[in-house]
């Protein structure tokens, strides 16, 4: 992973993807018929919203893990030094 510093706000790609995901978790793009089709008792549009929300959570976990590196290397070095 190297020692380069990464801050999510400085990476425009992250915010473009988050923007797309934000659009996906808002129910503006469904035809009315999606309210009539049921999947195990859940309307199809709601299923898609839940799947998109899972996608958003997964992407946030990814960003948190790999695109936020400001202190971690130093903190870990400190910890090793302390031991």
């Amino acid at each position: 992973m190297g020692s380069e510093k990464r801050e999510p706000i400085k990476n425009p790609r992250i915010w473009i993807i988050l923007g797309i995901l934000l659009a996906m978790i808002t129910p503006w793009y469904f035809p009315a018929s999606f309210g009539e089709i049921l999947v195990y008792g859940v309307p199809l549009w709601a299923v898609i919203i839940v799947l998109s929300s899972l996608l958003l959570s997964a992407y946030l976990s990814y960003v948190l893990k790999y695109h936020w590196m400001l202190e971690e290397d130093e903190e870990e070095a400190e910890q090793k030094g302390a031991k």
Binding site: I9, I14, E36, G41, V42, W45, I49, L64
Partner: protein
């Protein structure tokens, strides 16, 4: 709410929860006797919270007893349109990405204890810091008031009125203050963990019980198809607008709550903080998602309730589930104890942050900067206690007029966001513009609330916030920031 199964078992479980919380306080005190000399130790747990505890203490700031008792009735009335309650908890984590990485770093660098201290560091202006502190104290005070009222109602509901409202409030406030004083942030975070686990367990048992007893989502969908197909339908134009504004408002609003910000400073390391956030990103499915399903099952279980009756939905469903067998009975008693515990856990976080702003920012920076940390702590604790006393009186004797001023919280708390967040990145942000924006935003948001005005279905706090951001940005572009000031800001941010 009146529960058929409540009574002595309710009293027993509440007494048990109370004792456990006190026990946590005593153990924390015995293991950390040194914490009463240092603001860092008392208010931030020595900046040493690990992943699990940090996660549950964030969890307690976002999910309260209200999530369990108040959300299913909304799902009952609105149907699938209320599914928005799942993604809006995820957008909170998205909002954290805007400022938490940098704020954690600066918090560590400057040993920040409260959000107000960041304002002092960044703007070096008494006016800005005091205004921000007062906004936070006022908002937090009202937030606390709301929790106290909820504790009283919850206790009297769970025990079927055996324990009156007032006794319930006083009992839990005393316990909360004692364990808070004994162990500071550590006590609060450890009890948050216990309370969170009880709540999660109870909610899952209620879901299982409801599915067994009333039937699952397909049964409910059959009912809706026949009698209220609009509850299954895709939201219409205004529905989508409302959905989107909730995503934005809750996302930003809950992320900048002062007690939530303070938890960023309390993290043991960047890694710990990241992992806690990452878990938080998945929690909406297990909490908001589960209570949403319970509300939808309720549509079929108790059809045709009026708005007032539907508010009792969770109590009705839990009573029915509890009457099935002894395991469900105790699970439901545990659930309602957990609901009250969750309200207490939100209240204790709010009270601790309230005291910290008094200790560190108002008393510690301006009134008596030379005081020892021990004295600053004592003043914070005492003022916190007085504030709780006043709030209990307000909760007991609600004033007939002017009650609206006790409702303002989000409207005020969110006004600190521009100064807090934009100030992290923009060196040229002008101190006077921040002050003017915060003041005007507050006046707009609170007068709209007090006079009951509303435009385009957008929340009052958001209108205030938009004007606030406008003033900050335009004001900073118009007024010149001296080269020295800009350099100073650059140095403070240091990135």
């Amino acid at each position: 709410m009146d529960l058929a199964f409540s009574g002595w078992s309710g009293i027993l479980i509440l007494a048990m929860y109370g004792l456990i919380m006190l026990g946590v306080g005593v153990v924390t005190y015995l293991r950390n006797r040194h914490i009463h000399q240092s603001l860092d130790e008392y208010y931030l747990g020595g900046r040493g919270l690990g992943v699990m505890v940090l996660f549950f203490t964030f969890f307690a700031t976002q999910y309260s007893g209200n999530t369990v008792v108040g959300y299913p009735p909304s799902a009952y009335r609105m149907g699938y349109e209320y599914l928005v309650s799942v993604p809006f908890f995820i957008t909170i984590i998205m909002a954290y990405l805007l400022f938490a990485p940098r704020l954690y770093r600066l918090g560590k660098k400057y040993r920040l204890v409260t959000p107000a201290q960041w304002f002092e560091k960044r703007y070096k202006s008494k006016a800005v810091t005091i205004l921000a502190s007062l906004l936070m104290l006022y908002g937090l005070g009202n937030y606390l008031l709301e929790q106290l009222v909820a504790i009283g109602q919850g206790v009297s509901g769970l025990t079927g009125g055996t324990i009156p409202y007032q006794v319930g409030v006083v009992f839990f406030v005393i316990i909360m203050v004692i364990y808070g004083w004994l162990g500071g942030m550590r006590s609060v975070a450890y009890t948050d963990t216990m309370q969170g686990i009880a709540l999660l367990f109870g909610v899952f048992m209620l879901l299982i019980g409801s599915i067994v007893y009333f039937g699952g989502l397909p049964t409910s969908a059959d009912y809706m198809q026949a009698y209220s197909p609009e509850k299954l339908g895709v939201p219409d134009g205004p529905g989508v607008m409302n959905w989107f504004s909730l995503l934005v408002m809750i996302g930003i609003g809950a992320a900048v709550y002062p007690h939530a910000i303070q938890r960023i400073f309390a993290a043991k390391s960047e890694r710990t903080l990241k992992r806690s956030f990452s878990r938080m990103a998945w929690m909406p499915f297990l909490t908001a998602g589960v209570v949403f399903i319970i509300g939808i099952i309720g549509i079929n279980a108790y059809p045709g309730l009026t708005e007032g009756e539907s508010e009792q939905l969770v109590g009705m469903m839990a009573s029915a589930v509890a009457s099935q067998n002894v395991i469900f009975y105790w699970a439901m008693v545990l659930l309602f104890g957990g609901v009250i515990a969750a309200i207490v856990s939100t209240a204790d976080s709010v009270l601790l942050t309230f005291s910290s702003i008094i200790s560190n920012d108002l008393y510690g920076s301006y009134i008596n900067p030379d005081a020892s940390e021990k004295k600053k702590l004592l003043v914070g604790k005492m003022v916190g206690l007085v504030a709780v006393g006043i709030l209990i009186l307000v909760a007991w004797f609600p004033p007939g007029t002017l009650y609206q001023i006790f409702v303002l919280k989000f409207e005020l708390l969110v006004q600190i966001a521009p100064g807090l967040i934009i100030g992290l990145y923009w060196n040229r942000l002008h101190t006077k513009a921040v002050f003017a924006g915060m003041l005007v935003g507050t006046i707009i948001a609170s007068s709209m609330t007090l006079f009951g005005l509303s435009y385009f279905g957008i929340a009052n706090g958001l209108w205030g916030l938009l004007v606030n951001i406008g003033i900050c940005v335009v004001g900073s572009l118009v007024m010149t920031v001296s080269v020295v000031e800009e350099k100073e800001a650059k140095q403070v941010i240091g990135m």
